[in-house]
Symmetry: C2
Subunit: 134 residues, 2 copies
Amino acid sequence: MSQHDAVLFANEAFYLAFSSQDLAAMTDLWASGVPVSCIHPGWPPLLGREEVLQSWEGIFSGDAPPAITCHGPRAHVYGDAATVLCFERIPESYLIATNIFVREGGLWKIVHHQAGPTNGGPVSEHGGELPMVN
Amino acid sequence: MSQHDAVLFANEAFYLAFSSQDLAAMTDLWASGVPVSCIHPGWPPLLGREEVLQSWEGIFSGDAPPAITCHGPRAHVYGDAATVLCFERIPESYLIATNIFVREGGLWKIVHHQAGPTNGGPVSEHGGELPMVN
């Protein structure tokens, strides 16, 4: 598997943990040896592993389960760091996300997530990597 | 200068180019040898150097000059890549931004920028690195 594909795989695992409210998986997906941060839509930034994981615990224990799917991921690998941009489909609209990964113990772990509003969305939903609109 | 400080310096240069509408400086600040991307608030993602720089040209030539300042930057260095999270003060409110840098020719160049809404803001504006609220 190329590093590009491995990063996309880690990104997919992130959204699987997110949508299935799997806190153990989410905990494992975040890097543990380097600083991490997270910006949920409209929130202030969360800094540090404890604060970030507490936010996921809160989201997963909320009344509304996160009905979210990832669309059109684009990965860019910069040595031992990588970014994935993707659309997040939430009920009736899309968000746009930046996810940042670093290699830790040979595995790509997430170190940062920011999601926010967008006026765009993936053009097509027919298989493979989805294009992004301009 | 530490890499941490060098990244903060590059981030400061980004906001100086932004607020002074300096397209030449902005062009120089973006990486040229690796993929770049940009998500302006509410926009779809822009992919590639040409598309990203065109967006800055459009923003700088608009009717409303970008009255924007950076507050509370936090840098994290991951080898040859780095992130800066910061608040962007715009008239009457704040945005929250993720900026990603990579080292290119010994200099930190920006490869990605995402800004979006936040309900937070820096707690204090009294010198130095500003804290972020939880």
